[in-house]
């Protein structure tokens, strides 16, 4: 039975093929909650850059006569045991969170994606070697890995960044690896090989860009993960050293005054949650806008 009638895609889909970028913006900014998340991230960046201008007080200046004050008009979130203004310290804390987040995720993404790309593209022995190492890193809970590395290195801001960076490599490498394996199958890659383009050229020019969308999403989500992990390390006491202002250590400092001054722990913890939530929401929004099929895979 020959079938010569015209086969065409479901015509119901036709009106929705619009320009890709406009579609992206429409979906991305179409949901109020995503706009809310993006606004929080923007506020975070502004607070970090202009912390000295926004903060009502110097976050480091101690004033023991004003220690452990409840929230008041002068100190909106009260003062800690050294009489430092909590609100100012939270504002300065954005710098630590953002710096740790961006640098650790950025370097983890760079190293992880490179490893994933090399492993996925070349396959065989290199693949096994790299991916087994990644598996081993994956077997250690990230917070424990970061804790161990940070403590061995001796704590402090940059050691936290290094340890978080290493802990975040596996997810980036894994995803990149999976993406490369998928993209490699595509016809245009085979075509490139047939016309004799070099391995590196194919990898950088063709494979890499096609792997990007889910990785962008993962990077956004990992920013939240890194900020959360940094706060956990600071809470445990291996983060940045006093008197530096980090949200996690503020929560810990306030823990002993929980009954009398709960706001000392509550406020910085809430800030952590809000910022991580914002990155998660924006990450989800990006995923839906870039490629709805990724839902449930990242």
């Amino acid at each position: 039975m020959t079938d010569v009638t015209i086969q065409i895609d479901n015509p119901m889909e036709i009106p929705f093929r619009r320009n890709g970028f406009i579609r992206f913006l429409n979906v991305f900014l179409g949901r109020k909650v995503v706009v809310f998340g993006a606004a929080i991230i923007l506020a975070l960046i502004v607070a970090a850059i202009f912390a000295p201008i926004i903060s009502p007080y110097d976050p480091y200046s101690q004033n023991l006569s004003e220690s452990l004050q409840p929230p008041s008009r002068a100190h909106l979130l009260g003062t800690d045991r050294f009489g430092r203004d909590v609100l100012s310290r939270i504002i300065y804390g954005t710098r630590v969170s953002l710096l740790v987040g961006i640098v650790s995720v950025g370097s983890a993404a760079f190293i992880g994606m490179t490893l994933g790309l090399i492993a996925g593209y070349f396959g065989r022995f290199i693949n096994t070697l790299i991916m087994r190492f990644i598996d081993a890193l994956m077997a250690i809970p990230p917070i424990m890995l970061a804790l161990a590395i940070a403590s061995a290195l001796g704590g402090g801001l940059w050691n936290v960044i290094i340890s978080l960076g290493i802990s975040l490599i596996p997810t980036q490498a894994r995803l990149m690896h999976g993406q490369v394996l998928t993209v490699k199958q595509a016809d245009y890659i085979t075509a490139g090989e047939v016309i004799g383009a070099s391995d590196w050229r194919i990898m950088i020019k063709h494979v890499f860009p096609n792997c990007l969308p889910p990785l962008i999403v993962l990077i956004t989500l990992n920013l939240g993960v890194a900020i959360l992990a940094e706060s956990a390390l600071s809470f445990l006491g291996v983060g940045i050293r006093p008197p530096g202002a980090a949200w996690g250590s503020m929560v810990n400092d306030g823990y002993q005054y929980l009954l009398s001054n709960p706001i000392l722990s509550f406020a910085p913890g809430f800030a952590i949650m809000l910022v991580v939530l914002a990155f998660n929401i924006v990450g989800d929004g990006l995923r839906d806008a870039l490629d709805p099929r990724l839902r449930g895979t990242i």
Binding site: M1, T2, D3, V4, T5, I6, Q7, I8, D9, N10, P11, M12, I14, P15, F16
Partner: protein, 330 residues
Amino acid sequence: MAASHLLEVKNLTTEFRIGGSVIRAVDGISYYIDDGEIVGLVGESGCGKSASQLSVLQLIPMPPGNIVSGEAIFQGIDLLDFDPDGEQIRAVRGGKIGLIFQEPMTSLNPVLTIGRQIIETLVLHLHMDRQSARKRAVELIDLMGIPDAKQRIDNYPHQFSGGMRQRIMIAMAVSCNPNLLIADEPTTALDVTTQAQILEILRNMVKAFNTSLLIVTHNLGVVARYAQRIYVMYAGRIVESGTVKDIFDNPCHPYTLGLLKSVPRLDEPKGRKLVPIVGLPPNLGNMPGYCAFWPRCSKRSPACKKKPWPELRLISGQHYTACDYDFDKK
């Protein structure tokens, strides 16, 4: 028209609301099927054939789907009056009307044995106990020509080929002795030899179980061989209907004519050229006020654009067309 059709659909209209625009997938269609009849519903992909069949059993996803108006009188009762998840319509689904879908590869649940999927229907509609249902399921699978039915019943769908899976779908659809079988593109996803086998099985089942069969397809060849009557659908409407002889010997709608010219036939001279229908099906979300086939029509005239899409008009006997062009004159 006699009042005692098995299923009579009147003025069925179904819309889908997708991304802010409303798409009228089924636009006021009417058709009927009698006891023991095989009827074909023919049209291109996306013309609303499947949507109309799913609407009759209220199986379209709602939302975004919405059955705007119409009746589907089955054995004297309007199926569209029932609550879409209620007990009454569920008794009809699978019990009195069996459905067979296009994609045998994905239409069976991959994590349940095929036996379980057949047995649960028998238990549900025929109130059999597990043991007799199992026995019956083995018989049905055997009847479909699947060897080793006794062992195969405990296999999972991925252990069968596409053709075999479609046989299992048919076994499931006929398991409760339905009055009507609706086969939605039952052979489209299969290779040519398997297609013929499946159609043969379908026809045998119609005889063995004394049911009617509505076969939805884009393939005129299929209906020519098996159906008694044909409805041709275009852009959500029925544009021509009649007996197989009416449609093949005296097509009265340019679309039907185009379909016939694009299909090879055995009873015609060897040298005849196949002529595809030019252009694309219309965008159902943005229909013109006039005949939707106009942009692709070989017999169009400026006058067609000035009047609404013609209603079906009687040619002779049971033969209707939705075109004002007079084929006999020219």
